[in-house]
Each structure stands twice: as structure tokens, then as C-alpha cells.
Amino acid sequence: MPTVSVKQELLFQALGRRYTDEEFDELCFEFGLELDEITSEKDIISKEQGDGKAEGASDIILYKIDVPANRYDLLCLEGLVRGLQVFKERIKAPRYKRIMPANGDVQRLIITEETAQVRPHAVAAVLRNITFSKDRYDSFIDLQEKLHQNICRKRALVAIGTHDLDTISGPFTYTARPPSEIRFKPLNQSKEYTASEILDLYRTDSQLKHYLHIIENKPLYPVIYDSNGVVLSMPPIINGDHTKISINTRNVFVECTATDITKAKIVLDILVTMFSEYCEKQFIVEAAEVTYLNGKTCIYPELAYRKEKVKPDLINKKIGISETPSSLAKLLTRMCLKSHVTGNGNNIEIEIPPTRADIIHACDIIEDAAIAYGYNNIQMTIPKTYTIANQFPLNKLTELLRQDLAAAGFTEALTFALCSQEDIADKLGVDICSTKAVHIANPKTAEFQVARTSLLPGLLKTIAANKKMPLPLKLFEISDIVVKDSTKDVGARNQRNLCAIYYNKNPGFEFIHGLLDRVMQLLSVPPSKESGYLIKAAEDSAFFPGRCAEILAKGQSIGKLGVLHPDVITKFELTMPCSALEIKIEPFL
């Protein structure tokens, strides 16, 4: 969930009133936001770097507000205020409009063929006669960063570039060139570099290093030039220094390059709808023309308003309220979804503005009606759905066995399903290749290399962590292990195992053997060669030679028991003899 940080003072100024922290928290809650933290730059710095560093930092109060991940229109102060003011019916939602420049001289961006392999899409627009201030400028930069981190998927899907239009002259060309042929002065640098040098330059940059991989291994890097060969940007890495905007910039050229055209359009719409507020003609955006390689021409930003019709009855039924059509239309209008009743009250026509790309289905509209109505005003009801409950048989058996294993004097452990290869292989004296273990591709540490193929390592580690406890230690666990199984759609399956260990100054094989007898008694399986269970000598690297037996029941081998091998005991950092039992329980269902 993205967090937007806004100055309390600016927020209240824009909202036209003050709130206590509690009141503002309440308003956020109702609207689906979360006032996450009240802080200041000074607090943040002293928390992150220590009190000394915070000296002189601003102590202006900041509100950190959590915004739902699909509400890109709330990612800046401008949008938050607009959303809340409309919600509180203090203003009407603005109407965003795209116009062609008065002199007919539209800014043009030409996309060349070479971009197809690396980053095929681009969209553009112009914010004409904008007035920035320090706060507005900061917010403009912040919003781009928030969009980059969220919908743009860390610039992989979309990258935004904003330029001082008065420093460049169109038409602009979006192309892709070999890195050695691209040469320009990157933003805030003092000299020119080639594209390859730029990548090296930013390899240690805490922010930009995360984006290098997007183009690094491509033969051609994307780049935008103006008609004089000035580099606007090398997306998605860095803009040129030449075109950089400042708080004095009056005309901004916005370009978004993308691998996902839908998202590029959304990003452009959000950026221009939010900041056209500060243009001479409020909420009016100047169009730009984008020409594709096939000659197709598109005008951006789209700023499309879409109309949907939803039956009032459906809204009421889905929420569980009974509001009149006109009151539902009013609720929706408060969510920036301008609505009115049509067709003799049988329908509500809803206009979806370009800021609400999250509205993709009637259910999204219904949710907004419910939010405006107030979730906590909805009458709670109990569904009349009549059903008979059933337990999952395997879990039912597990629950029954757990109770009786505890009654038999064994204590239940709960160990991790993920572990290291070493735990299930080396430490038990087997080769990892001979296990049917499922391997994880991206573990951050060795603890998450594989899914366990046995419960035994987890129990041994539990004892190792509890060596101070009085002996004997008697533990059990009934839980799932995972093994590869090519007959399953995903190529693996869980298996429910029962494992128990006895750890004491003597091996206590008779106790573990006795526990097996008790478990079989509980499962009504008699000791018998034909229809019951029996154990017979076996060899297993985890067990001491001659002290291991295989357990046969239900016509199959269900597991083993025995005295653990001293090497196993040592490798799990234990010192006492230990016997163990591990069986699968699914055959007893």
C-alpha cells in the first residue's frame, strides 16, 4: 500500500479547515485511507540516522497517509484534497479537458521502429502556463516517484519524463540507439557521458541502480531527441540536464515511455489531471500528437470519460441497503463518479472520469456507493444460506491423533515447512539428489532452500533449542511434508506425516516402539503379519546400524523407527542418544 506524505498545514489550507488528528483519522477511515503516522522531517531523520543528523531539519508536521494500491488519483496532496472535498460535498469534481494549442502548432512525438524491441510505446502531453511554487514543484516530483514505484512497476512498465518545453523544440523523436552512440549530460551532472558510462555512473546510485537492469542487456537503448538533437531523456533511467524543470518553468512537456500502453495512458492522465490545477486554464491540458512507425497518429492525453449504467436495484441488493435511485446517484457523485438517474428511475448513469482507472466493473461502482453510504451504517444481516458442515477427513484424523499423542506423554512441536538442503540431506546422511525434495528458486537465505521431506529435522532442531529443559524430552508433530509427484498438476504433493522423538540419557527405543504400538492401537490396527502392522529390520543412514526397523501396515511401508545415528545427533548439535519414529498417516483414512 503506497504511503503519501503531506504537510499538515498545506493539507488543512487546501481543505479550507482544520482537523484534530482524531478527526482527520476518522475522515481517512471512512474514506478508505489510513492516517499511518504523524511525524516531521526531523523525526524521520533522527529515527533513521540518529538525533545528531536531524539538527536543523524541518519540524513541520507531516501526515503519512496510506492510500489503496489502485487509487493513483490519491497519490499526491492535490488528488487527496480533491477526493476528500468532493466526498464532503464542498466542491464539485473538476472536469478535465484536452485542447489543441490555439496556434494549431501541436507538439509532436515520432516513434521510430527501433523502439519495438526495447520499449515500444510512448505518450505525451503539455501543461501550458503552469505556475509552480516550491511545494507544488515538490509534489509534482513526488507524484512521479509514487507512480514509478506503483503502477509503473519500478519503471519497468512505464517511465515518466517531464521537461521544460521552452528549452527544446519539436518535433521530438523517440528512438533506440546503441549505447555507444548516445551521448548527453544527464540530469544534475556537470559533463556529458555516453549511455554506457551513464549506466556505470549510476551503478552505485541508491535510487537509479534499481532501474539499470531494465535496458542494460539490450542492444539498443531508448532515447528521446528534440529536432536539434538535444536529449530529453534516456528512459527509463534518466532525463537530460538540458531540459530540467525548475519552479520557474512555465510550460512542461510530459512524455511517458512504456512496455504497457494501457498503463502509460493511465499514468499520463493522472499526472496531467492532478497538475493542470496550476495551469492558467485550470484543468485544461494541451494535447500532443504521437506518430507510430506504421503512420498511425494518436492524440494524447486521452482524458476519456466513460459512461456506465447500473441498476439502482442491483446496487441496493449487493450492499444490503434500500436507497432511492437519486440518493444512490448522489452517493456516487461524492466519489467523483458523476451520476444521474435515467429511464424513469430504473437506471443510474455513471460517468467514469479519467482519474478513476480503477473502475473497471459495476462492482467497483457498487463499492464506491457503499463507501459513500458509510460501511458502518450498513445493517448487519446473517445470510440464510443453509449448509451442513464437514471436516476434511485427513484433518479430522490429525486432530484425533494429536489429542492422544499428548495423552501418551508427548509434547507437540510446530516446525517450519521450509528448511535448508543440509537439514533434510547432509545432516541425515543422505544425498539431496536421492530425496524427492521440492527446491525453491529464490530463497533469501539457506533456511528456505527446500520444502521439508521429513518432520524429523524440525523436531531435532526444537530439542537443540531447548537443551536446558529437563530430560527426557518427548516431542511429536503431525504435519505435512512435500514431495515431488509427477502425477499432480503442479508436479508435487503434500504428505501428512506423524513424527515422534525420545531424547534422554538412554536411547529409549522401547518408548518409541511403545508409542508406535499405541498409535496402531488407536487406529485399530493389530500387530499381525496379515492384516495388521509389523516392523522388520532395515538400514537407513539416519539410524544407528542394527537399530532401525521399517514399519509395514496396510500392505505398504509407512515409515521407519529406530535409534538415531550418532552422526545425526552430532550434526543437529545434540549430545544424548535419541530414538525416533516417522510414519505417513494417509493410509489409515
Binding site: D364, E367, F392, T462
Partner: protein, 487 residues
């Protein structure tokens, strides 16, 4: 019975303290045999008093005068070289005290080295006077600060005297009868118990814990949650498949392929077996269409949906993957209302801290029926949470990729004095349900929460590793109470 015994004076034989205190209470667990305490033949009461006494050095000063006075007295009119003065028994201590009292002065430039002279005609030795008062038993007449000063100089000490006052006890006797510790089969057979005296039990001691095994606290809570769902008529889902395909975990839930949850940083992907091989192909085509083009009244996400991405195997990130399989299965039959639940492990490749592990248990409830409302979801949640002993609930609008409307559930925590999030819930999106083939009018409401969080709050555990995994504190498991969520 006391009348037959010679009497002790009504009160008091005072005994000086012995090394062992009498009559201490036992509170340790009994190691062997029942807790027995002798009957009270005599009763002892401990008393203590304080007294000030002179230290040996203090006594010496009473005899000889204070060190500083002795130094003063030993200096002749013509003074004394400092080196000689320091050789006197009271030299060192006396000199510095006499200097600070300004009784003597030091001439560093005198012939033959530094020399000490008397600075006043005569002195009054108040230290000696004060100590004399103490010796006469009049320590109380000294001011507190003087006493402390003298104590600091190790001239005085405070002596605590413990005495025991002994009087006849309730079972006072001058004859010694051997008391029996406990009843034996022989006594019962012979009836001798009638004439015997038995030592009293010490009921303040704890008993011996029975030998037993113990269930794990988190799983005791799991049992209670299972019970609650069963009481509410929910059927348990088969969640015994930790390995899931991205298709069922994400795509089936209408979670787009570029969603951050599908990132390497959040999800464990599998190297082996890396891909799922078998999908219901008709359904998969409908899922592809809803993502890439929309349909069923939805705009869709309009991106290039890739089968390769859906094939990728992962450790499931939520049990909702199983709910998706169950709802798909439900859609393949003639529709009948269903209530499902599960409590099982899920996995996240996240940064670990005191409250987050890479695996945890998710609790999930799902109801599928015609015409379910948001009010029904809230009512169901109210019933569910009431059974957990949580009555004050409120709901916050939220965003989940696969539910709309979505609501976070908050409950008022009396201890923390604030609203805390206790679960997440919503109505499954039509883009998830309709491609499965569920009838149009069917709504599916669902909610989820973690098993660990309420358990940690319930038992006041701050570090999740003490509860889950091999680093568990077994003593905590041994000592755990019953799990009664609504108590």
C-alpha cells in the same frame, strides 16, 4: 488441655538470633512426600531493634581524642616539619581534618622543608564529645547528619539486633509424642489411626505436576477456530497442497501478472518442479480473456496475458488459491450454496522481523450463495468475531485485487486503547467468479486473518519465534493454559 501442663510465663523468653530463622513459610514445590508441618508446640515471633555503637576506632577516639585534635596537640609553638608529623599515628587523617578545620597551617617555604604551625590558640574536640554521647547511650540526641558523618568516618555503626519472643503454642506439650507423617494400609487394617497423631499438611506448598504431554498453543487456537467454523456450518477445504501454480494462486483470482505480489521479492518461486503442466484449458482461456480483453461487464486489465507466467509454480501465498479451486469445482456442478473454511500454512518471501515469518497460518472463510450482500458479510463477521470474544467491530474500505467491495475489519482493543486490524474481507470480483462458470446472481463473500496474530495478542507473546518454529520455548508449551477464546 493446657491446664495439665506447667505454665510458662505469659510472655517472654527472648532468645538471641540463631543462624537459622524459625518458622519460615514454604512455597517451593514438594519434591518427595506430602507437605507436612510440625504442630505449634511453641510459637516464635521475630522482633528486631536498632542500636548505635562505637567502632573500635570510635572507642579509641573517646579514649585518646580525635585524630585532628591529637595532631593539633602534638604541634609545638615553633611548628613541626610536615614529614615528621606524617610519621605520627594520627598523622595522615588528623592533618587533613585539622587543615580543613583551619586549626593548623602549612608553610611550604619554611627552612628544612614544609612545616606545620598551629593556626589557632586552642581547639574544641567536638568529634570526641559526640562519640562520648553515643558511648553514654545518648546517640539519639545527636543530629542525623552528625551521625551519618561519623558513620561515614567508620567511627559509629548501626547494629540491628534480632530477637525471638517465644510463647506457648496451641499444641504446647512438655511430653514428646512422635507424630505420624501419613496414613498407611496397616493403620487402616488395624484401626490404629484412631489413636495416632498426624503431622499437619502445609497447604501453602504446590503439588507435584502430573507427567503429561502438551499440545502446542498455536494449534490449540487452531482447534478452537476449526470448532467455530464447524459450529457455523462451514465445511473444511482440502488445503494440503503447499505447492501451487501461479494460475490458481493469482490468475484465477484476477490478480494481474504484473502485480507486485507476483514479484520475486514477495513470493517463493520453485526451481524444481518449476512449472505446472495441467490446467482446465477452457477455463484457462476464459481467464486469459478476462485479463487481457475484459468481458462479463469488465474492462479487464488490457495487457498481454502469458501462459508461461501462469505456469510458474510457487509456494502458495494464500489459501485463497484453494478457495479458487473449490469454487471452480462448485461451478462445475448444479449450483448449491456452500460455506467453506480452511486454516493452513501460507508462504511469503518477505523481510522477517519479530512479528513476520516466511510462513504463517491463514484462516479463511467463504460463503457462496445467491443474493449475498455486504451486510451479510458484515453480519457473518460479527457472528464469527463474537465467538472469539470480540464484540466491538468496525469496517474500513480497502483494496484487494480479487474482492470488490473490500473491507478491513477492526476491533477495539481494550489493552492498547485503540482500534486494531483483525482481518480482511470482501466480495469476490465477478471477473473471478464468472469465468469459473458460477451463475450470474451468485455472490461469494470471504474473509481471512492470520492464526498467529490473535494468538500472540491472546498470550502476550511479542516475538513470533517463541511461538512458531524450532526456537519455541518448550516451558511455555508445558505451562500453557486451555485455549478459551471467548473467556
Amino acid at each position: 488441655m493446657g491446664a495439665n501442663y506447667p505454665s510458662l510465663p505469659a510472655c517472654c523468653v527472648a532468645l538471641m538470633p540463631s543462624s537459622e530463622a524459625l518458622g519460615t513459610e514454604h512455597c517451593q514445590r514438594q519434591d518427595t512426600g506430602p507437605p507436612v508441618r510440625s504442630p505449634q508446640v511453641i510459637e516464635a515471633e521475630q522482633r528486631s531493634s536498632k542500636r548505635w555503637e562505637l567502632t573500635p576506632e570510635g572507642q579509641e577516639i573517646v579514649q585518646e581524642g580525635s585524630h585532628e585534635a591529637r595532631v593539633f596537640d602534638s604541634i609545638p609553638a615553633e611548628g613541626l616539619p610536615q614529614s615528621e608529623l606524617m610519621k605520627l599515628p594520627s598523622g595522615k587523617v588528623g592533618f587533613s581534618k585539622a587543615m580543613s578545620n583551619k586549626w593548623v597551617r602549612l608553610d611550604k617555604n619554611a627552612d628544612g622543608g614544609p612545616r606545620i604551625f598551629r593556626a589557632v590558640e586552642s581547639v574544641r574536640d567536638s568529634v570526641r564529645e559526640k562519640l562520648q554521647l553515643v558511648q553514654q547511650g545518648e546517640a539519639e540526641s545527636l543530629e542525623e547528619k552528625d551521625r551519618n558523618e561519623l558513620k561515614k568516618r567508620k567511627l559509629l555503626m548501626e547494629v540491628v539486633i534480632k530477637t525471638y519472643w517465644i510463647r506457648k503454642g496451641s499444641a504446647f506439650s512438655t511430653t514428646v509424642t512422635k507424630q505420624e507423617t501419613d496414613l498407611t494400609p496397616e493403620m487402616i487394617a488395624s484401626g490404629s489411626w484412631r489413636d495416632l497423631k498426624f503431622k499437619a499438611y502445609n497447604f501453602a506448598a504446590l503439588g507435584i505436576m502430573p507427567e503429561s504431554g502438551h499440545l502446542h498453543p498455536l494449534l490449540k487456537v487452531r482447534t478452537q477456530f476449526r470448532q467455530i467454523f464447524l459450529e457455523m456450518g462451514f465445511t473444511e477445504m482440502p488445503t494440503n497442497n503447499f505447492i501451487e501454480s501461479s494460475f490458481w494462486n493469482f490468475d484465477a483470482l484476477f490478480q494481474p501478472q504484473q502485480h507486485p505480489a507476483r514479484d520475486q521479492h514477495d513470493t517463493f518461486f520453485l526451481q524444481d518442479p518449476a512449472e505446472a503442466t495441467d490446467f482446465p484449458m477452457d477455463y484457462l482461456k476464459r481467464v486469459k480473456k478476462i485479463h487481457s480483453q475484459g468481458g462479463y461487464g469488465s474492462q479487464g486489465y488490457k495487457y498481454d496475458w502469458k501462459l508461461a507466467e501462469a505456469r510458474k509454480n510457487i509456494l502458495r501465498t494464500h489459501t485463497t488459491a484453494v478457495s479458487a479451486r473449490m469454487l471452480y469445482r462448485l461451478a462445475q456442478q448444479k449450483f448449491a450454496p456452500a460455506k467453506y473454511f480452511s486454516i493452513d500454512r501460507v508462504f511469503r518471501n518477505e523481510t522477517l522481523d519479530a512479528t513476520h515469518l516466511a510462513e504463517f497460518h491463514q484462516i479463511e472463510g467463504v460463503v457462496a450463495d445467491y443474493g449475498l450482500t455486504l451486510g451479510d458479510l458484515m453480519g457473518t463477521l460479527r457472528e464469527f468475531f463474537t465467538k472469539l470474544g470480540i464484540s466491538q467491530l468496525r469496517f474500513k474500505p480497502a483494496y484487494n485485487p480479487y474482492t470488490e467491495p473490500s473491507m478491513e475489519v477492526f476491533s477495539y482493543h481494550q489493552g492498547l486503547q485503540k482500534w486494531v486490524e483483525v482481518g480482511n474481507s470482501g466480495v469476490f470480483r465477478p471477473e473471478m467468479l464468472l469465468p469459473m462458470g458460477l451463475p450470474e446472481g451468485v455472490s461469494v463473500i470471504a474473509w481471512g486473518l492470520s492464526l498467529e496474530r490473535p494468538t500472540m495478542i491472546k498470550y502476550g507473546i511479542n516475538n513470533i519465534r517463541e511461538l512458531v518454529g524450532h526456537k519455541v520455548n518448550l516451558q511455555m508449551v508445558y505451562d500453557g493454559p486451555l485455549c478459551r477464546l471467548d473467556a
